[in-house]
Symmetry: C2
Subunit: 528 residues, 2 copies
């Protein structure tokens, strides 16, 4: 039954019971172990999943757009059909509140529906026709037709902090399936029951839609399982969200393959927030409170958590710091996602506090129960921040540092000094526009998304979203893992020259062209 | 003066005379050294060129589309204005016939003009707007606007075999400049005089168009110069065409940088040709002659040279082999591009001839003069070809191997067995369509371009062209180095969330949207 959590490994249409059963989820809010014990996938299961995915690939990538869109929608419907047990299990495994899980479920299903629209619209095929010019001198031009095709089976690594929206049926899976790639998920061991429920929902959708069995598998396991998966020659791309260490390890495995493959790893970001004088003069208190709201949301466990605030020394900045300190001081933490994440947070906060020239400005409440991360706000100056690289390292959780600058040149130096970022946020008023205008070119070079007068947590799934950015925010700044552009990670162009019509793929045949957006002899044409 | 070859290093608007003067071109047709001696760039010149490129970047990437298009067209005009001395020098440095150089010049100028059109059309900006939905429940949607921006200064490695179309102002340079990236070229030491003439034409165009000086530099040198360039932190992407060894070395340097960068390396391909029974029955003789024409074109020095022919054992195949052998036997070679390339060709041919189970089927004429590569046609069977990996290595020059298959299953096994390719060619008649239909999914997975009843040499610069393919044909199959899609290598998306209109880039402001193709709330709209 779809709602049963058995601890089995899901390979294609099957659920297998042949792994070692030594992985159990923990409720981070209580420390209690959750039943059942889960089977970890080893080399045999990786082999089996990759073989099935490979066997499914040529068929799945040529499914009609409508059939593929229906499959994505069916996955969403099956996830909704899991009902309350999914929410309960995800809450138990992550310590996140039910409202957050319900919101994330809506986002996950919406994401699948959005990619169904993308598939139906057919723009991702990037159809291009250059007609034959047999009379051209000195040489005739051949008939050239281009489309994008799927790269091949994709390994998706579920992230700990989005048990639905960036895990088994999350953004990487949705965009890879939309592109026509079978997916083998390496499930995150922190939420194995949630993963199994979602995995069974995908299996049910694949079955109902007549998809080849190998279009999806879910392998639970640790670093070793993931390494085997990325090294498998039938895997042709990787989607990963997690730590810098994890992402770099996968990039390294790819580099050492006989055939290196694209690894899109979303890894690390401290998401600078620049507070301009006009904004601080107008609303230091509100900005301080808004900042702490973003910082402590979900126990600070967002890739886009605002980890550094940059502003000019001034009485208005003092007011911001006071307001933020007060709000932070009253903040009562929920449990963090896992004991390991909580321990890493404590280590990170202690390391930050011990850096020279860093002052602990405020701490949150300790909270009751295990795995509570006590929020932390630090203060330092720009010279110190720029001199100590350790201050730029992400502390995953509700920790942030205010960097006080003596002048605009120092603000710019901080902007230039940080590594690549997912986001940069500006708080400003019209009086600040001129200063902001000079900073924006730097921020564009450094980040995938620039926000004004809002907070970076909360990533809209949309056409114009970028959840990406220069290294080490991601491994390749030319792509995004959230939003409809995410599909491009898993596509490659193929050109067909003078192929007889009978042998052309459906999307490039003259009789079908009118149904698709296309570039014909350099002219953009839309469907009839 | 634009037409003077001085041997200087071109950095930004300057020509510097401070390198070691120890590089001289050789006329490969006669072995004679050509004046003058050229200065090689060292660490100081790499530093200077990268600093200038970095200084130019923020300004150049925001030039208006019209201004940037005019710059690309001006480069083309300045190249044409070089007149006969350019053709003469390129002929002397490469040994290629004047007609080929003139054709390549037309292609180079046409390529710049095509990218000017691409810039004006503005599709590469990929403008996307998701309007704010302040009333949306449970959360409002912010205003999101996306555009693609240039990656940063690009290192371009000129190739030996296209002294104009894939060298100093070739496809990599044209697409990078179109994207808004300054370019630092590492010029190929085989044609330094041609390179300097072209480099001065770009300088003249930049000057006339009021571009920042650092938009272009040309550094001549060897492996060490190239390594310094790719390691420079201000270089943000690499375009390379050349050997597998060279490409892999650049990928390795990128991986070891503090910030790894995209390296697009076009490296190695043997471009399989599949001859189907119906086609051989209908026109074995013509196919054999056409094949040798493609194989020996430009002394076989094309990335898309047909290095392996796959067909079923039959009397018709014997007729093809006889026709090809006869044509090859009469072929008189021109000089190869450099003594080094000629020596590598001879080594490759000897290695192939010494492989077990490989028969030397035919050799071309020896030719008169130095550096003539004697064309070679080998014969083997599918089992032997698949068992010996060395038979799949590219021999750069006019050498090819006919792989005889016992049945269709063996043809498919050869298709599956080869590594990634730039092209695959089919020769077929309607009677062959069913067999071809079964093979095409394999070929799509293996190659960037599939041709029917034509030859892979000759790469059209067009919207629907792909000069790319799975590794090791290129380092990243998601891109192409020829055709208008090549611009995507050098762009990354940036999303602007709720930015005040005053701070938005020109292309995303409401008043300018109507002039650009865009995706507005998921609906594709074209310019008024």
């Amino acid at each position: 039954m779809a709602n049963t959590i058995t601890g089995a490994i899901l390979i294609g249409d099957d659920s297998l019971d042949n792994g070692r059963r030594n992985l159990q989820a923990v409720d981070p809010g209580t420390g209690a172990k959750l039943e059942p014990n889960f089977a970890e996938a080893g080399a045999a299961e990786v082999e089996q999943a990759c073989a099935l995915a490979w066997a499914a690939f040529d068929g799945y990538r040529e499914t009609s757009l409508e059939k593929r869109a229906l499959f994505l929608e069916a996955i969403g419907a099956q996830i909704m059909a899991l009902g309350q047990p999914l929410v309960d299990r995800a809450v138990a495994e992550t310590g996140l509140p039910a409202a957050r899980i319900e919101g994330e479920r809506a986002r996950t299903v919406g994401q699948l529906q959005l990619f169904a629209q993308v598939v139906r619209a057919g723009e991702f095929l990037d159809v291009r026709i250059d007609s034959a010019l047999p009379q051209r001198k000195p040489l005739p031009r051949p008939d050239l037709r281009l489309r994008q095709i799927a790269l091949g089976p994709v390994a998706v690594f579920g992230s700990s902090n989005f048990p639905l929206a960036f895990s088994v049926a999350g953004g990487d899976t949705a965009s890879a399936l939309a592109a026509g790639c079978p997916v083998v998920v390496k499930g995150h061991p922190a939420h194995p029951g949630t993963g199994e429920l979602i995995g069974r929902a995908i299996q049910a959708a694949a079955r109902a839609c007549g998809m080849p069995a190998g279009v999806f598998s879910l392998l639970l396991g640790g670093i070793e399982t993931g390494a085997l998966l990325v090294a498998d020659p039938r895997i042709k791309a990787v989607g990963f969200t997690g730590s810098c260490g994890g992402g770099l390890a996968l990039m390294d495995i790819s580099t050492k393959r006989r055939e290196p493959i694209p690894v899109f790893a979303e890894m690390s970001s401290i998401n600078p927030v620049f507070l301009f004088p006009g904004a601080l003069a107008a609303r230091a208190q509100a900005i301080g409170e808004g900042f702490v709201g973003s910082l402590t949301l979900g126990a600070g466990q967002f890739c886009t958590n605002p980890g550094v605030v940059v502003a000019l020394r001034s009485p208005d900045l003092d007011r911001f710091v006071q307001a933020a300190s007060a709000a932070l001081g009253g903040s009562v933490p929920g449990p963090m996602l896992t004991p390991g994440i909580h321990q890493a947070f404590e280590r990170g906060v202690n390391a930050m506090a011990s850096q020279a020239g860093v002052q602990v400005q405020a701490r949150g409440q300790t909270g009751a129960g295990p795995n509570r991360g006590q929020a932390a706000l630090f203060l330092t100056d720009a010279k110190n921040f720029l001199a100590q690289e350790a201050l730029q390292h992400e502390v995953f959780g509700a920790a942030s540092v205010v960097v006080v600058c003596d002048d605009v040149a120092e603000m710019r130096a901080v902007a230039e000094g940080v590594e690549g970022q997912l986001t940069t946020t500006l708080h400003l008023e019209p009086a600040d526009y001129q200063a902001a205008r000079e900073l924006i070119p730097v921020l564009e070079r450094k980040s995938g998304r620039i926000l004004a007068n809002e907070w970076p947590t909360g990533v809209e799934v949309a056409h114009a979203m970028v959840h990406g950015g220069p290294y080490p925010a991601t491994s390749d700044s030319r792509f995004t893992s959230v939003g409809t552009l995410a599909i491009r990670r898993f596509l490659r162009p193929v050109s067909y020259q003078s192929l007889p019509v009978d042998l052309l793929p459906e999307s490039l045949r003259p009789e079908n062209l009118g149904q698709l957006p296309r570039l014909e002899d350099g002219v953009r044409l839309l469907p009839r």
